[in-house]
Subunit: 767 residues, 2 copies
């Protein structure tokens, strides 16, 4: 494979030169990861450690009549068995957590079923034993009597009045309405409205209206969930785990286990992928309770792949109806959407985010968006990279493409007419800051890919097409803390608290080095835990390089203030008269470098260590435009990706490799979601493809080299202009590919995945 020279487009205001930022420096965790030295949850080994396993429901919907654990407990080597009865109910209270919200009562019931199981794979009991084999054997000796109930597996069916009810106490929360007293599977109905859509549609020359369906898909991180917990005899709990959100997990453990947060230390290990799926606890509370019950011995647990797919949170299947009207001059006059997202077993689908994403790239005077969060007998949905966004954009961007086609306009030109820019108001309320959406449209319009003719089909039974789609993601602010130690050898030990998933040790160390005017290699980053570094919000919401970057900047500024004082003390002059330029501190003619000043710490007041915490409020959304060329084999229905180019407003690419990596990863996942990935259930709600052989994620062989254009429209609210980059790349691919397929075969695809059988059905080749 040829590595293409990737493009970067910098707006005028980015022309400032940096010392470190924008360079493709080596990653600090690289050697550890390629030599197998990095410590993941699987590497945790503690004295007297036990091994925990989970018994899971074989039914999608059933009442637990009884659980008899006596035989399991009697098995030599078994040290503890827990069931739902070991859990004291958690509060029915909703708090922000990672990218979404969490209801602690539901979270607790998801971690271990109480009186009902709500999906195939729902945990019903857990065992800790001296080795994993004994624990497995003990699971087989637990007798659970179930009263099997009919499951409901489809969002529209679940919304029917006569549907089987999952949660007897669930009532629809309607915006501004009193809560109904009727049991329901509809957890909430929310609405965004602006202007008058009826009038808008009346003004339209062309209207397109379609219904779309998307399947349940999983984040597909390679490292399964794992957790080792020690509930110590002094009441303190330590948990080593693979997580994106150590502080959120601490709070969740506190709520589920009824232990104060400050009695819980969560140590985030290296993480083998999360994508939103590791923001919440699964095994952690089980391991902790088993540890307690086993007499304060550490308990290690990890999931098998089938458990990951069955019982952790995939993202929602959905049904989305979109209607958009436009005038002949290309101006959209009205846009309406109806979204119903499957929450899985407990309320909490990302339908709200889908509502925000669905028309976000466009300036709209008349809009009406209704969203429904609906429980079904599938695992509880959890965030997945731009949660809810891909579903929404698949629907809206297909309709936008069709509108452009019907108006005889270039799809980019049509989008450009309606494109949102700074000062426009989003459907969900906020006014846009300095976004770079139009710049991404122009970047694609001017890109050699878009300007080149389509390649010829590779065989007579193949058709080629090119599709375009745009995408939006909110980008989260959040809170970050960090600490630094200034070493006498001129280096800075840097302790940050954001789990490093996508290279943030590098991107944060770079921002600290830039602030201090020192070399990148003189900053030594390390990820702390809930006990060693101040509070950090989750690595999620595309916030880390942005928000923890602001913390790094303020940390640098605090170090500079302190170093000015040290220089002042060295020269016996007022600190406010010491000037700093890059790494050089001067008082008149007298100058000293940062490194030289570090060597003088001893004589100017001793060691220097600094901590900062920040609450950030200046994130700016990410927008992207993608173009894809596909080839459709009309005999087999297989879709091949021939060429893929993604232009994205990244604000400022701190480390371009990683930014490109985020785009590559997001696009690759979007392609999988578009073409292959789906949860397949039988009528009784059994997941039939709970393995990576049957749940088909794309491999390198399925993908071309993804080309990127980093459009840098700096965020004026960030010292270096950073905008979150990690999530929006997954938003456009499904729509872009659907639009390309349409251009190839003349059929609008309205279901995901667009697998061969779906293509053949759409072509009428098979019924």
């Amino acid at each position: 494979m040829t590595v293409l020279e990737q493009e970067r487009i910098q707006t005028q205001s980015t022309s400032k030169t940096f010392r470190v930022i924008g360079r493709r420096v080596p990653r600090p965790d690289g050697v550890d990861k390629v030599t197998g030295r990095a410590q993941y949850g699987a590497d945790v080994k503690l004295s007297g450690m036990l091994y925990g396993k989970v018994l899971r429901s074989p039914h999608a919907h059933a009442r637990i009549v009884s659980i008899d654990t006596r035989e399991a407990e009697a098995l030599p080597g078994v040290k503890a068995v827990i069931t739902g009865k070991d859990f004291k109910p958690a509060e029915d209270r909703v708090e922000r957590s990672g990218e979404g919200v969490v209801n602690y009562s539901y979270l607790s019931q998801n971690v271990m079923a109480q009186d009902k199981v709500l999906y195939h794979g729902h945990a019903v009991a857990a065992v800790a034993a001296t080795n994993p084999h004994i624990a497995e054997e003990a699971l087989a000796r637990i007798k659970v009597e179930y009263e099997v109930l009919p499951p409901v597996l489809d969002v529209l069916e679940a919304m029917r009045e006569d549907a089987p009810i999952l949660l007897p106490n669930l009532r629809t929360r309607e915006l501004g309405e009193p809560v109904s007293d009727r049991p329901t599977n509809i957890a909430s109905h929310e609405q965004y409205a602006r202007g008058d859509v009826e009038r808008g549609f009346a003004e339209a020359d062309v209207i397109v209206e379609r219904e779309f369906r998307t399947s349940t898909v999983h984040q597909g991180y390679i490292e399964p969930q794992n957790a080792t917990a020690l509930w110590n005899a002094d009441g303190f709990i330590t948990v080593w785990t693979s997580t994106q959100a150590a502080w959120d997990e601490r709070r969740e453990l506190s709520e589920i286990l009824h232990v104060p947060i400050s009695n819980i230390r969560v140590i985030p290990m290296e993480i083998g992928g999360g994508f939103g799926g590791k923001l919440n606890v699964y095994l952690e509370p089980l391991a902790a309770l088993l540890s307690l019950k086993a007499g304060h011995r550490p308990v290690k647990m990890w999931m098998q792949r089938d458990e990951v797919l069955k019982a952790t949170g995939p993202t929602s299947a959905s049904v989305i109806r979109v209607k958009v009207g436009a005038r002949r001059d290309g101006v959209i006059t009205a846009a309406q959407a109806w979204l119903a997202y499957e929450a899985g077993a407990f309320p909490g689908s990302p339908v709200g985010a889908g509502m925000g994403v669905i028309f976000a790239p466009y300036r709209l005077e008349n809009l009406l968006i209704d969203g429904y969060d609906v429980v079904v007998n599938k695992p509880a949905a959890k965030p997945y990279r731009a949660p809810g966004g891909t579903n929404a954009a698949f629907a809206s961007e297909t309709v936008v493409d069709e509108l452009a086609e019907k108006l005889g306009m270039d799809p980019i030109a049509f989008r450009r007419i309606n494109a949102a820019k700074e000062g426009d108001r989003r459907a969900d309320g906020p006014v846009y800051g300095r976004i770079g959406y139009i710049e991404t449209l122009d970047a694609i319009a001017n890109h050699p890919h878009y300007r080149s003719p389509l390649p010829a089909p590779s065989a007579p039974w193949c058709r080629v097409g090119r599709g375009v789609a745009s995408g939006f993601w909110f980008n989260w602010d959040g809170k970050s803390s960090a600490s630094a130690i200034v070493n006498p050898d001129g280096t800075v030990s840097y302790l940050e608290g954001s789990t490093d998933i996508g290279g943030t040790r590098a991107s944060l160390a770079m921002q600290l080095a830039e602030t201090l005017g020192i070399d990148y290699t003189d900053v030594r980053p390390m990820v702390g835990d809930t006990q060693t570094v101040g509070y950090n919000d989750a690595t999620g919401g595309s916030r880390t390089t942005y928000g923890s970057g602001i913390a790094a900047y303020h940390l640098g500024k605090a170090i500079i203030r302190a170093m000015k004082e040290r220089a002042a003390r060295l020269w016996d002059v007022p600190a406010e008269d010491v000037d700093v330029d890059g790494d050089t501190y001067c008082y008149g003619e007298r100058c000293i470098t940062f490194k030289a000043l570090c060597a003088k710490l001893e004589e100017t007041g001793g060691p220097l260590s600094v901590s900062v915490s920040v609450d950030t409020h200046g994130a700016i959304p990410a927008l992207a435009t993608h173009v894809v060329d596909v080839e459709v084999d009309i005999e087999t229905g297989k879709v091949s990706i021939l060429r893929y180019t993604a232009a994205q407003d990244v604000g400022r690419a701190i480390h371009p490799d990683y930014v490109e990596g985020q785009i590559h990863g997001g696009v690759a996942q979007g392609i999988g979601w578009a073409l292959n990935e789906e949860y397949v259930y039988d009528a009784d709600g059994h997941l039939l493809n709970a393995s990576l052989l049957d749940y088909r994620m794309p491999t390198a062989l399925d993908l071309p080299m993804i080309e990127t254009v980093l459009v840098e429209v700096p965020n004026p609210n960030h010292p270096f202009g950073v905008k979150g980059v990690g999530e929006v790349p997954i938003v456009p691919p499904a729509a872009a590919i659907a639009n390309a397929i349409y251009r190839a075969i003349g059929v609008r695809m309205t279901t995901l995945p667009m697998k061969p059988s779906a293509i053949l059905k759409a072509l009428g080749t098979i019924p």
Copy 2:
């Protein structure tokens, strides 16, 4: 055993009431330690870990002709073998380290012999293998050819011009003199002089002059030295070790291995005793080099007990001559001392400290003190609790007792006449601050123990006596850093960097809680490492509760400043108008507690984390007076301790249990040193008693309950009045016991240990 009610004497200025300080609160590490859950170096387990063992010299003095490691390397399972040739020479440079100084060149040669071995047990090679048995087996296959040289084992013999020379390049460093060009074993000669001792002795009515000898003794910590090191493929080294001084060890590793300090992370594990013996590296550089040579696999090493005794640093044997004269009215007119301390194989005995200690309790107009640091073929001496002090006080306090006796004065009354107080100048230069020496004399004079008659002997062949002695220790200032995270539940996670040996997690958390006006249990202390918390000097020099306590205080003040800002933001008032009283923040009538304000962090600016570093300059020396009753069995020579009372100026007892514990421990060690402990060598320099069966430390059965009087004369330079308490308790015991023995049997003992054979010799019972 009955636990006696311990006495505390508070001076007027200590009457201030505290919320937390002075209480006997539970220790935060208690449960972990009694349940075996605390993680010591022996508990470190890493993937792919190898086990390292050291080959040690069977000779006390020899030239290494050759080392053939081929057979060892060929043994299956052996992954690396190192010898002195794997070490690049370290710089011949002296820096402060822990309680003493360190010369990196000598330290490196001590860690692994180069061309010569200088003591029995000196490391000559090391092996890493897949298990410890293979490593042991490999040691047996290393062939070392030695040219054996005559050893010198006694300080006076080593000072002779014709003595065997250990270090051919060593030259005497004489104060103010050009360096001689003659090879020598005398590393340095220093002198303190004041007034005119000749004139002083001329003015004296009574003069006592004696020569004393003390033996080599070991700190006797129970946990042997251990270290696990990973020299990673990216050039970064991580070391898990039992140490008092993570940052000093980092610097030593840097110098020995020629790696920048910021590439080295030293993680201090829980420590099973140090007493000064774990301030410097032994196994750490070996484990690191083996790790490098074994292809970046972690290597774990630990010493056997015989290795600890043979090859780590005991404290110096010494010869001390003391001459003191006094007038009939009890005023000392002149004091002279000559001290020669064995440094062991490399320069660095604590003779300088001995010179400072020897007459420190007294106000002296005329003094002359000469000290010699002398190398001999024994392990390199390392600090041991008040290094050099016990030897010195044994000599001087015996002479002072004899002077009092000759003058017909009560030994306490005689000391009181000459007692140093605030404003007096010490022999080593500094002027005393607010010391409480006289208060300790008064405390003993008034104590029921001193006022009670001696008990009757338990048998006709037994004699009883009571002895008194005083002691001084400098107490070190040094540097400390700490960090804190304020949690929304009102607790504070507190990260300190001082190895907790004597309960400093508790004593520091108490000072932070006191500063914040919150409960002790709301501060959650934890010990960090060189990467997670700012620079901390060693836990040594009795500095931790004092110096890291100042850091805790400033950390608390920084939190209070930040919390005032949060309260101000909550009420929208100026921060400078918010008042704080205890845990309550008020603006006029509006008040909020610390805990309630913590719950408002989210809405007043987000999370809060704080770091501070301090360089302290207000330590005040510790002084103590001890009284002991002994019974001497004149048939066997055995000395039994009947009753022991120690009065000490502790400044302020933050946690009285721990302060008493320090006194108990120091006295117990002093009793061992006085009566039983010594290194026994044969004429060839082989250590004959390298086990705890033969190296006799006192057990609980050998000791009475030690009574303590905590005299609290607060240190005005410390926010809570703390003075270092850990070391001075070991200074008086040997002298106090010698004086008691004299009162029992009428013979002045001038050698340590005062073992049965020495008593019988002194009595003339045996030759």
